[in-house]
Every structure is written in C-alpha cells, then in structure tokens.
Symmetry: C2
Subunit: 127 residues, 2 copies
C-alpha cells in the first residue's frame, strides 16, 4: 500500500511511533512500528507496535487490556515518526501502572517522578 511505501523505514525496518491522548493531548507512550505493525494499526484501528526486545508484533493491551483505540494516524515532514491520537482504554498506558510513560520531569538536574501509580502492575499483568 502506498502509505507504507512512503515511510523511509530505518536500517532495522522501523519507525518511532508515539501516542497522544486524543482528548487531553497528553503524550502517553513511545514505541516502534515496522511495516506490518503500521499496516495492522491502520486496519484494526488499534495500536500495534513492534517489540524490539521480544522481536514480534505487540498488540498494545493484549495482556493488560489497555488497548489504544486509534482516532488519527499522523506523520511528520521527513517521516521520522508516527503520531497516533488515541483513546487509551483503562486510562493507563504505562507498564508501571501510570497514565503515561512520561511520568518523570527534570527538576534541578534530576529526573523526578510526577505521576502516581494508578494500578499495581502485578494486578495488571496476571500471567
């Protein structure tokens, strides 16, 4: 499909992909997609990534139930990154049980955690 051919996949066949809450605008996650992941994301309307550690497609929420329903798929000027606008099911995007993976900010030369854990990961991941 043409939109897949328009992506200048990197040496590993990947592109960075991040997800933003469609309503609040909060950036939730950053991950990677290969061609198959982007194709499946566009077909299913749910975020599918490529897990570099597990070396397989990762259908976000397949274990946790924290699916990302995709409202819009964007791409930047030089096609460096995919931007998903999503509805985050369960309100938890991060494997740490927080709303967003971006739960640390720089304060006086240190990374400080600014978000609470909403759900214990041991409860989210029962396997």
């Amino acid at each position: 499909m043409s939109f897949l051919d328009d992506v200048p996949w990197n040496g590993d066949g990947l592109i960075a992909a991040f997800a933003q809450d469609a309503k609040s605008g909060r950036v939730l996650t950053v991950a990677w997609m290969n061609r198959e992941a982007l194709k499946e994301t566009s077909e299913r309307g749910e975020a599918v990534y490529w897990s570099r550690s597990r070396r397989k497609l990762w259908r976000k929420g397949e274990e946790s139930g924290h699916v990302q329903k995709v409202r819009e798929v964007g791409i930047d000027c030089d096609a460096d990154a995919i931007l998903l606008k999503v509805e985050q099911v369960g309100g938890i995007a991060c494997h740490t049980g927080r709303e967003s993976c971006f739960f640390r900010k720089l304060e006086n030369g240190r990374w400080v955690t600014i978000d609470p854990v909403l759900k214990d990961p041991s409860v989210i991941y029962k396997k």
Copy 2:
C-alpha cells in the same frame, strides 16, 4: 551530571526528542539530542538538538528565529525519548513554514496534508 548519565544513549549517542506546545498540547517537532544537546537545552532553556545530517549541534531557531522556549523536560519510563513542553516562538515549528511538522494524516490509505503553510520557507530562511 546525573540526569545525563541516566539516559541510555543509543549506539549513535542519541535519544529521540520531541516537542509539544505547552499550551495547546499539539506535537510540533521530532528530532534527536546527544548528551551535549540535552545539557545545553537544560542550561539555556531553549531547545538544542543534534543534526544528524549536518553532524553538529542545532540550536532550533538559529536561522529562522523560531526558537522553542522550554517549559518542561520529560523522559519516558525506559528513557527512549525526551519530551519537551515548549513555547514555540513565531508559531511555526516546521521548516516547511507550518505550525507543526505533523501536518499529514492518514486518510483512506494516503497521507493527506491538513495544515496550511503560514510563511513561505524562502522568507524564513534568507541565507
């Protein structure tokens, strides 16, 4: 500095860095930082990136005047990416003269441009 040591710089010594409008939440740009760029960003309070094509520090806005004033520096759970919340001077972040680099979205299997050019790039880049 400790916060720089906390970043697992990739094989090229880089980390992805994207900038989001601090008020509207719109994602504006995606670029790369090396250690020096992140250090300088935190010190100057203005976004400094590493230009992979020019292989040098890129002080965003040095030619265009479209500086990104940094309001917050965030990092994700596994330190894959930096998230800047910025005030975009001039209201134009993209070298194409658009507000955001993410000016294309997927519609019916094609990338469609959804944003107007606010200023002709030949006017922005006079050199």
